[in-house]
C-alpha cells in the first residue's frame, strides 16, 4: 500500500481511537459516541459498496438486503437456536455470500439502470420475505431479546466497548481492501470499471471478478448486520428496506467513489447529518436531506473527497517504484 495511504490510514486510526475520550467528558456531545458506533457499522457496508461501485463500477441497491440477511441470520441463530454470537456471525456472512453469488451470476451480466433495478427488486423481495416469514423472523413486529456480544467472557454492552469492537473490524476491513486494491486484483477491478471489453481482452475474467467483488460487498454488509443485531438486540424488517439501500449508495456517492476514504468520510458525515444535525430542521428534515443529495450529485459528482485532493492539474498517480512493504 502506498506511503500516502499509510499516512492517512494511521492518522485516521489515531483519530478514531481517541474520539471516545474526546467526546465523553463534554455532556453536550457525549451521545456522539452512539452515533459513531452506527457510523462504524454502516462504514463496513459502504466500504464493501465502494469496492463494488467505486472501483468495479457496478451499482447495487441491494446492500441493505445483505445487511438484513447478516442481521437476521445472527438474530435467529442466537435468539432461537442458542448459538454463540461469534459462531453465528460467520454463518450469516456465508449465507449472505451464497445469496449474493446466486443473484450475481444473472444480475451482473446487466449494466447501468438495468443492474440498478435488478438489485433494487431483489432488495425489496428480501424485505417482503423478512416481513412474511413470521415464525422465523418475527415478521413486522420484529424479533427481540437477542443476546449481545461478549468478548473474552465479558458482555460488551457499553457503547465504548462496542465502539472499539466495531471500529477495529472497520480498520481490518480497510486494511484487507487496500491490500486487494494495490494488487493485480485491484487493477483488474479498475480496468473493468474503465473499459470492460479491453480488460476482458487483456485476460481479466471480468464476469468472475464482478461476481467476486459483489460477494465481497455482501460479506461486509452481513458482518455489519451481525454487529448491528447484537448492538440493538432488536430487529424489524423496516431497518433493511429500500430506503436504507439508497442511504448506503448515497454515503458512498457523497463521500466520493474513487477512494475508500471517500466512502468512510461520506458514511460518517451522512450518519451524523441523518441522525444528528438535521434535527434542528425538525419537520423540514426530509426536504433538507433531499436538497443535500441533489446539490452533491449535481455539483460534486466526484464526491467530497475530491475537494481534499483538488491539487491543481490532475495529480500524478503515485505508484512508488519500490513496493511499499518490501
Amino acid at each position: 500500500m502506498g506511503k500516502r495511504n499509510w499516512g492517512i490510514f494511521l492518522g485516521t486510526l489515531v483519530i478514531i481511537a481517541v474520539f471516545p475520550w474526546l467526546v465523553k467528558p463534554v455532556k453536550a456531545i457525549s451521545h456522539y459516541l452512539d452515533v459513531m458506533v452506527f457510523a462504524g457499522i454502516f462504514s463496513l457496508v459502504s466500504i464493501g459498496l465502494s469496492m463494488l461501485m467505486g472501483y468495479a463500477g457496478q451499482v447495487s441497491l441491494a446492500q441493505a438486503a445483505f445487511f438484513g440477511i447478516g442481521a437476521y441470520t445472527s438474530g435467529i441463530l442466537t435468539s432461537r437456536l442458542g448459538f454463540n454470537p461469534w459462531a453465528a456471525m460467520p454463518v450469516g456472512i456465508l449465507a449472505s455470500m451464497l445469496v449474493a453469488w446466486l443473484l450475481g451470476i444473472p444480475a451482473l451480466r446487466l449494466k447501468g439502470h438495468y443492474l440498478a433495478m435488478a438489485t433494487l427488486g431483489f432488495g425489496v423481495i428480501v424485505t417482503i420475505i423478512l416481513n412474511e416469514e413470521v415464525q422465523w423472523t418475527g415478521g413486522p413486529s420484529g424479533m427481540g431479546d437477542i443476546p449481545s456480544l461478549s468478548v473474552a467472557g465479558v458482555k460488551v454492552t457499553s457503547e465504548m466497548g462496542y465502539y472499539y469492537v466495531v471500529w477495529s473490524m472497520v480498520f481490518l476491513a480497510l486494511l484487507f481492501c487496500f491490500h486487494v486494491l494495490h494488487s493485480r486484483v485491484g487493477r483488474a477491478l479498475r480496468a473493468i470499471h474503465e473499459e470492460e471489453m479491453a480488460a476482458e481482452a487483456m485476460g481479466v475474467p471480468t464476469a468472475r471478478f464482478k461476481i467476486q467483488v459483489f460477494v465481497l460487498g455482501a460479506a461486509f454488509a452481513a458482518l455489519a448486520g451481525s454487529l448491528y443485531t447484537h448492538y440493538v438486540t432488536f430487529l424489524n424488517p423496516a431497518s433493511f428496506n429500500l430506503m436504507w439501500s439508497i442511504r448506503f449508495l448515497l454515503m458512498v456517492m457523497v463521500g466520493g467513489m474513487q477512494s475508500l476514504w471517500g466512502a468512510l468520510l461520506g458514511t460518517v458525515l451522512m450518519t451524523f447529518v441523518g441522525n444528528e444535525w438535521l434535527h434542528v430542521f425538525a419537520e423540514f428534515e426530509i426536504l433538507v436531506y433531499g436538497a443535500i443529495l441533489l446539490v452533491v450529485a449535481l455539483l460534486l459528482p466526484k464526491g467530497l473527497v475530491s475537494l481534499i485532493s483538488l491539487g491543481g492539474s490532475p495529480r500524478k498517480v503515485r505508484v512508488p517504484l519500490t513496493d511499499g512493504s518490501s
Binding site: 457525549s30 413486522p140 440493538v232 432488536f234 431497518s239 419537520e283 426530509i286 491539487g311
Partner: protein, 391 residues
C-alpha cells in the same frame, strides 16, 4: 513533500470537523429555576406519522397548559421532543441522546411497537423510566426484564377480548380476519389467532395485505368464499378505509365488519363515506366523549381534552393523541410527587392506582406495567356518520 502535504490536509480537515462538532453542540447558559425535563420520542414523520403527529401535539399542549399554571411547584416543564421517523435505528439513537445529553428523568413514547421494542433494552440499562404509547403486550412482558418500561395503550389482547365478548354474545363462531403486514397488523393478528379458541371461534380465513396496497377486493373476495359470520380488519392508515369501501362495494354488508381501534380517528368516517355505516369496533372512551353517559368518570377529563385539542389544532382528536395525554399526565404526576429522580419516578408509576386517563383507569402494579383491561373499552358502531354505542 507533496504526498505528506495531502495526507496532512485530510487530518487537518477531520480535526476541523471535530472542532465544529465541539462548539456546535455546547448549549448556552443555564435557565433560572431548574426546569423539570421530560423526554419524548414520537414517529412524527415516516409511515407511522399518523400516530406521532397527534401524540406530539397533545404532549406539547398538556405541558403548555401545566406551565401556564406555574409548572410543577414552580419548576417549568421542559418537553424535549425527538422524531424517530418511524425508524428503529433513529429511535435507538434519539432515546440515548435524551438520556445522555439531555439527562431526562423520564421518557414518553415511542409511538410504534417496533420502535418501543428497539429501546426497551436502552431504558433498562440506563435505568430511566419509559412510558410507551404503543400497544404490543411484548413491550411490558416478560416483566422481569421490563422493570423500567410502562405502556399506556391498551394491549391488542384487551381489544380482541372486547370484540370476542361482543361476538360471542351475537353467537358468531366462524370469523374471517384480514390484517396489514406491519407491526400494528402483525400484533393484532397474533392476538386474534391466540384468543379465538378461548371463545370457540374458528378462523376461517386469514388474509394479509401491504400498508400501501391500492385494492383489497382480492382478499375480500377470498373471504366471501369462506362464508364467515363476521370479518375483522386490523390495520391503520388508508387500508382500513379501502377495506370498508371494498367490503361495501362487493355487497358483503350482510356480513358484519369489525375494525381495529386504529379506525378510531374521526377523520376516517368522512373518508370512508356512506360505506362505513354499520362498521363495529372497540374503542377507548377518549374517542366517544360526547356520547358517554355523564356518570362515566372519564367523561370530564375527555371533554376538556377534546375541546382544547380541537380549538388549538382545528382537527378532530385521534385516539393516538389520547395515549400521549395519558403518558404526559402520568409523567407530570410522578414529577409532582417525587421530583426528577428516575428511580423514584419508576416506583411512583408502579404504584399508581385509579389514574383517570383517556384510555381507561390505570391500575399499575409490579406485575402489570399497563394497568388497563378490556373494561376500559366500549363497543361502538358507525351510525349516520358518527360514533354510537353499539346495541
Amino acid at each position: 513533500m507533496k504526498r505528506l502535504g495531502s495526507s496532512l490536509t485530510l487530518v487537518v480537515l477531520v480535526g476541523i470537523l471535530l472542532g465544529v462538532l465541539w462548539n456546535f453542540g455546547v448549549p448556552s447558559g443555564v435557565d433560572a429555576a431548574e426546569p423539570y425535563k421530560i423526554g419524548a420520542v414520537f414517529s412524527i414523520t415516516g409511515p407511522a406519522s399518523f400516530l406521532g403527529e397527534p401524540e406530539k401535539k397533545t404532549a406539547e399542549m398538556v405541558v403548555a397548559a401545566v406551565n401556564k399554571q406555574g409548572g410543577i411547584n414552580g419548576h417549568p416543564i421542559e418537553l424535549i421532543v425527538a422524531d424517530d421517523e418511524s425508524d428503529a435505528t433513529k429511535c435507538n439513537l434519539a432515546v440515548k441522546k435524551l438520556i445522555k445529553k439531555d439527562e431526562v428523568p423520564v421518557i414518553i413514547g415511542p409511538s410504534t411497537s417496533g420502535n418501543s421494542m428497539a429501546v426497551v433494552s436502552v431504558a433498562e440499562e440506563s435505568r430511566v423510566p419509559l412510558i410507551s404509547c404503543a400497544a404490543s403486550y411484548k413491550i411490558v412482558t416478560p416483566i422481569e426484564s421490563r422493570q423500567w418500561v410502562f405502556k399506556v395503550a391498551g394491549s391488542d389482547s384487551h381489544v380482541v377480548e372486547k370484540l370476542f365478548d361482543y361476538m360471542k354474545a351475537k353467537g358468531i363462531q366462524k370469523l374471517a380476519i384480514m390484517t396489514v403486514s406491519d407491526g400494528f397488523g402483525a400484533s393484532g393478528r397474533e392476538e386474534l389467532l391466540r384468543l379465538a379458541p378461548e371463545y370457540n371461534i374458528t378462523i376461517v380465513a386469514d388474509e394479509r395485505y401491504g400498508p400501501q396496497d391500492t385494492d383489497l377486493s382480492p382478499q375480500l373476495t377470498k373471504i366471501r368464499g369462506a362464508q364467515p359470520q363476521a370479518i375483522v380488519n386490523w390495520s391503520t392508515g388508508p387500508t382500513q378505509i379501502l377495506a370498508v369501501k371494498n367490503w361495501h362495494d362487493l355487497g358483503m354488508t350482510s356480513i358484519p365488519l369489525y375494525q381495529s381501534h386504529g379506525f378510531g380517528s374521526k377523520k376516517n368516517i368522512p373518508l370512508a363515506g356512506p360505506a362505513a355505516e354499520g362498521v363495529l369496533l372497540a374503542l377507548a372512551r377518549v374517542n366517544i366523549g360526547p356520547i358517554l353517559p355523564d356518570t362515566q368518570s372519564q367523561k370530564k377529563v375527555i371533554m376538556e381534552y377534546t375541546k382544547a385539542y380541537e380549538e388549538q389544532f382545528k382537527e378532530p382528536i385521534s385516539s393516538f393523541g389520547g395515549h400521549a395525554w395519558d403518558a404526559t399526565s402520568l409523567a407530570i404526576a410522578a414529577l409532582k410527587a417525587v421530583g426528577p429522580d428516575p428511580a423514584k419516578i419508576r416506583d411512583f408509576l408502579e404504584k399508581t392506582q385509579g389514574f383517570v386517563g383517556m384510555h381507561g383507569i390505570f391500575n399499575f402494579s409490579p406485575k402489570d406495567h399497563n394497568g388497563l383491561s378490556k373494561n376500559d373499552l366500549e363497543m361502538v358502531v358507525v351510525q349516520k356518520g358518527d360514533w354510537a354505542l353499539a346495541p
